[in-house]
Symmetry: C2
Subunit: 169 residues, 2 copies
DNA sequence: GTACATCTTCAAGTCGACTCGAAGTCAAGG
DNA sequence: CCTTGACTTCGAGTCGACTTGAAGATGTAC
């Protein structure tokens, strides 16, 4: 029976070992058996991680992937699990697409404005309060020159917020 | 001469005071004169912040907004500044849109798969290393004011990761 | 026996755009 | 005088998905 080290799984999936450990910590991947303290994966792990990455690339968060993998009865077929999660995701995606088209228009409007000074520009002709951003979607387009690391320890801090604001009345 | 407190500017722009101070700290907004240590804004500040928010909503980062505002000769018209920044941004946007459509297709593919177990799924039929994610696109919704849900992001080292991934050697 | 590759855990750093809290200042009102 | 409210600065926290590094253990080759 083929047993893979974490390094081998990393090689086959194109991930770093740290990512695989992170998935385990995050409860997305089940902890594999250990031999002398080292993780030993069966060959299906590669496939599982493939589905995980696929789901991520489709826009699911790790939280959602965890639900996808472990949030259903064991007998629930994969496509039913997808179905249960896909609706909201498709709506988000359509909103994103609409918003991206809006950004395009905005940029082109900016090209068309003839203003010389920033202060003169009438582009944002809303001067009234309370109209928060329509949808504050942000996207990082320009590939960061160095997509350096990022990290955080596991666990669920999940501090709830919604503090009353004191400062402007 | 109308002088506005930071609270008043916040009210008129719909931002929190902390955001306005942050913009100043970040070098996007110029520090206004102080009276008794307190910031006093002229009325044009509201418009300036309007343009800033508009640019952000069009997909520019604060870094880019800073360039837009202060990265050119003072006599360069606003639309020329836009022009200088817009090309790459439009390309990013088109990539984002294409990627979003790809995600849609992926989700629908997931709906169509008949797999019962995650391990069986053939969806991600790439089992080889090195094919990193196409482009690291991040889109997120997370309102500054309200604790709205649904935020997500994606990002990882580029396909040709210049990192000597080695964990040991 | 000793180098070296690979593994282990755990803590802390990263990125962007902020927000929040603490502690202090200041003017007006009762 | 005391409170209230708006302001000040500074530092730390938030979110997600990781990476990086330290310090130590183990496996394999020479």
């Amino acid at each position: 029976m083929e047993q893979l080290s974490i390094g081998e799984v990393a090689r086959r999936t194109g991930l770093r070992t740290s990512a695989i450990r992170y998935y385990e910590d995050a409860g997305v991947l089940p902890p594999p058996p250990r031999v002398n303290g080292r993780r030993r994966y069966g060959p299906e792990a590669v496939r599982t991680i493939g589905v995980l990455r696929f789901a991520q690339q489709a826009g699911f968060t790790l939280d959602e992937v965890r639900t996808l993998f472990h949030g259903f009865g064991a007998e629930t077929p994969l496509h039913e699990r997808w179905e249960a999660l896909a609706q909201a995701k498709l709506r988000d995606l359509d909103a994103l697409i609409a918003r991206a088209h809006g950004m395009r228009r905005a940029i082109e409007a900016g090209l068309g404005c003839g203003c010389v000074r920033v202060e003169d520009c009438v582009l944002p002709d809303h001067d009234h309060a309370g109209d928060g951003d329509p949808y504050p979607v942000r996207y990082a387009g320009s590939p960061p020159a160095r997509p350096r690391a990022s990290s955080r320890s596991r666990s669920r801090p999940a501090t709830s917020r919604s503090k009353p604001r004191s400062e402007g009345s």
